[in-house]
Symmetry: C3
Subunit: 260 residues, 3 copies
């Protein structure tokens, strides 16, 4: 299996698929191709939250504002998964997540640089560099990744790091950040759901908002705070957009107090 | 084969696909993931009009404003098809349609409640309840649906009903309703195409509009009434948006008179 | 393998897939279903630039403003590829491109009319005419295309022609046209990249713009001219939309001078 993730819209992903299927007979699954443009951090979040639901596979991910510059192209093996993409950090959070979940098995983690001399374009390495590498890894098998011609061993520590910010708390106030806004308009923060304890309500930037387990707990159009499917606190609206109602966008910080 | 339908946008459907492919080796086909948000009626229409074109398969459909509440999760077998989704009525019209088309074979129709204790999330049962159930039914085979662990027999009559409204006519006036607006802007009504007889024109809410078999029968930008590919009367514009030109949205009623 | 291209959005392509998979067991790959509406020229460009990346396959392409009129439905074999769609020219540029790339092998090029008496709809030949024909060709095998029941031999010369405009140059001024704008907002012209020679800058409609190999060569928000992944000159903005910044839309002409 080979998954594809990008900010390419259409029809560029189809060229990648054509290239891949010329090289290997893989079941292809799209994760998303409409991720926020040129935003490796958002892609890093979605990869971390989505890839672990898959059986071992090759995961191609291209959100690449530095395409054509001297930023590296990399492939990272974690156990029986392989991640392929630009070396701008977007693969690091999912690599950590996979490593944790596989820890008991002492998974192999190994990084490689993808070396392609003179790719056909300077602006579409998804098609000319990453797709061929992902296909070749799929064809060889992740366990035999080291045998792929275009890969040269690299230390993971040399790869660009990207850490999603973590929330903090002091004196009953939680300081968090909106990591992404999903297509429903839910503002997904980095605040662990467990920090809400059993509160019935919180103050978000000073305003009281009910904490609820389900959207339908509040009337349509009303705001709620919930623990989303990723385990993080979300600022939502039942049948509406949380980002608008809370005035929050990706990257915004917010403070949250458990209400008495 | 396993089809997927939702209002999830991206990348949430990918998590469902990961879960499914961990459990069964299915060919996945997306019907749509950008259906009108939180609108089981629109989903019911599109399922009814699309699913019957498929060979027997498992069809997962999640448009679920009541997620996390005590609304039931259900699976319904109709002949060799199985439908899986929330018990809010969205599966009922396609169940009726499949039953009609399979009537000669006296198809088995059987409903089941999906019982999952303590799903991982309260807001993403697509991933945590429906995808596992659909995968398990696919893996068992629809004929062996009763053997799936998480399913408990249920009377179809206990399931939530949803009837798409039907058109009426009296004294030469047809009273209909817009069921959905498609992405072209075509306003698809519930008026059977045959009711237009061989009229050359109709009055829609009083205004004369030509009836035509093809968009190209009128000039670009001009309005027409046609019998769409679902067999219903549509209010359209050649190379434009019918919903705008007619001032019609999903749920709006309209009256139509055959013009002399 | 069978690829699908249309301007249908969702969920109409799913009905085509259901029809296809009832007739043949094909791996389906979407090229795009959100191409500019009713614009065979844009589809012709994207098909020409995308299809050649695929192994031999059947390619179904439906952008069809004349649906239901007496425009022909056609299938064109080029070597081991087959193209299926309306006879409005959208297949011609990719047929030429495939023919060139396969020239050394003296590929068979043969056209057929698809004859379906009384299709189920007048407005959705994607489902009722083209999908069945594409599936039947896939099932028969492209080499046996002539054996498909619904196909009747036709001279390619009888098919509607569509030539994408070509750029010209005189006295150091290049006259080109924007062929399409992609989802990033890149305005892709018909000017061959080689015509930029090694210029560091050009004047686009009189204004000086740097020529760069990569987006990241200029600051975010700044304009650049680059040779895109199709080999054509593009008017772009780093992390922004070139169409807006240059005031260019598909079909617009532009003049370009190599700057001293």
């Amino acid at each position: 299996m080979l998954t594809l993730t990008s900010d390419f819209g259409t029809p560029y992903p189809a060229a990648m698929k054509g290239v891949i299927l010329q090289r290997t007979d893989a079941q292809l699954v799209d994760i998303a191709h409409d991720l926020p443009r040129q935003d490796p951090r958002a892609a890093a979040f979605w990869l971390r939250e989505t890839v672990p639901y898959f059986s071992p596979a090759v995961h191609l991910a291209v959100v690449d504002p530095g395409v054509g510059t001297d930023r590296r192209a990399v492939a990272i093996r974690v156990g029986s998964h392989a991640l392929v993409g630009p070396d701008n950090g977007l693969l690091r959070p999912v690599v950590r997540r996979l490593r944790e979940s596989l820890a008991a098995d002492d998974p192999v983690v190994a990084a490689y640089e993808i070396v392609v001399d003179d790719p056909a374009s300077t602006t579409f390495h998804g098609r000319d560099v990453f797709a061929p590498a992902a296909a070749d890894i799929h064809e060889a098998g992740v366990e035999s990744i080291a045998a792929v011609d275009t890969l040269e061993p690299l230390s993971l520590a040399e790869c660009v790091e990207l850490e999603l910010p973590t929330a903090t708390r002091d004196d009953g106030t939680i300081h968090g950040e909106v990591l992404v806004v999903d297509e429903f308009g839910n503002a997904i923060t980095n605040i662990p759901g467990a920090w809400l304890a059993d509160s019935d309500a919180v103050r978000v930037d000073g305003e009281r908002v009910p904490v609820a387990e389900t959207f339908a707990s509040v009337d349509p159009g009303e705001r709620l705070v919930t623990v989303g499917s990723h385990g993080y606190v979300e600022c939502d609206v039942n049948q509406g957009r949380g980002d608008d109602a809370f005035g929050l966008a990706a990257g915004d910080s917010l403070s949250l107090r458990l209400a008495e």
